[in-house]
């Protein structure tokens, strides 16, 4: 996660005085979202492999996924220096974007690693 992409640092300022007026540079916003998407996919694949190797089954695995996603969110927030409003237009972006997309990859790699290590 660390230093995945520093283009996230080029996000646009937000308002300090007026809350209703916000300026975002669309290009930078998109690049930030791309960074989120990448880190989520990457971590869900890695997390899937880890969960499989550790032999999590059932609910434990899904809890592990939630945990990973929560850690990702915290990491992304730390990368945005906890001022999410400066880089994204809403909190949901950092918390939820790419959540379901990553789930499919997670399940696949979880199953794959689990089968290879534990089933056979």
């Amino acid at each position: 996660m660390a230093g995945r992409n520093d283009s996230g640092a080029s996000g646009k300022k937000s308002s300090d005085i007026t809350n209703d007026l916000q300026i975002f540079n669309t290009e930078n916003l998109q690049s930030n979202m791309k960074v989120i998407y990448y880190s989520r996919t990457f971590l869900s694949i890695i997390g899937g492999v880890i969960a499989g190797i550790l032999g999590f089954t059932g609910l434990t695995g899904f809890i592990f996924y939630f945990l990973i996603m929560a850690i990702t969110s915290v990491g992304l927030m730390a990368k945005a220096k906890f001022s999410v409003q400066s880089y994204f237009d809403s909190w949901n972006r950092i918390l939820l974007d790419g959540f379901l997309g990553g789930l499919m990859s997670f399940v696949l790699f979880w199953t794959f690693a689990y089968d290879i290590v534990h089933i056979f």
Binding site: S105, V107, Y114
Partner: protein
Amino acid sequence: MAEDLVLDTAIRDWVLIPLSVVMVLIGILRYFVSKLMRSSQIPDPKIVKEGQVIVRARNLRAGANFIPSKSFRARRVYFSNEENGLLHVPKGQAQNAQAQMFSDPNMAMDMMKKNLSMIIPQTLTFAWVNFFFSGFVAAKIPFPLTQRFRSMLQNGIDLSTVDVSYVSSRSWYFLNLFGLRGLFSLILGEENATDDTQRMMQMGGFGFDPSKSLGAEKDSLDIVQHEWALPKFEQRAETVLKNLVS
């Protein structure tokens, strides 16, 4: 789980791993093939212009608050008046565009190429999986599922007593098909990421219909409330300067 099945390690070595590896390789191959097949046809001036009009109208909508309201209104009229506005599509022409699209062989050819590059490898892989690996229980998902998932996960096996969490090879293929998308987007760049889903959507509507998007853009431009943002900037500039001076 008392009735745990014992799976042969040969299944792992000769079914599970090869299947996944082949899926990844085919995905990569498909990416490069579609890159090669992408033809550089000469675009139709009308389509290019419509695309540009849409971009400009979208800019207008996004940046509306940054220009004085007089300028904004002038532009809005320019875009969306009923006589000769850029976004206005005459009624008769809308249907025409569709018909024209079908009659244009180049367009159909291009669409075919795009779709073929998706369908052919998928059918081939599916046939290959079916032929070689049909009837294997290839994997076991590490979480329990209800009976309803049986048809999804045990496609190709007719055993109602086997636990649902066992996955047949054919279903493992489908799992790979959906789950590897994330991996592809990581290794091939993001342009591949949404390709499949986008193409699926395109197939439904048979391509992009410019007149429809022009109309949609016009509608959303019509309802934009113009609120000039610049007066607020004076206050913001004041605070900026106050911080600077003090």
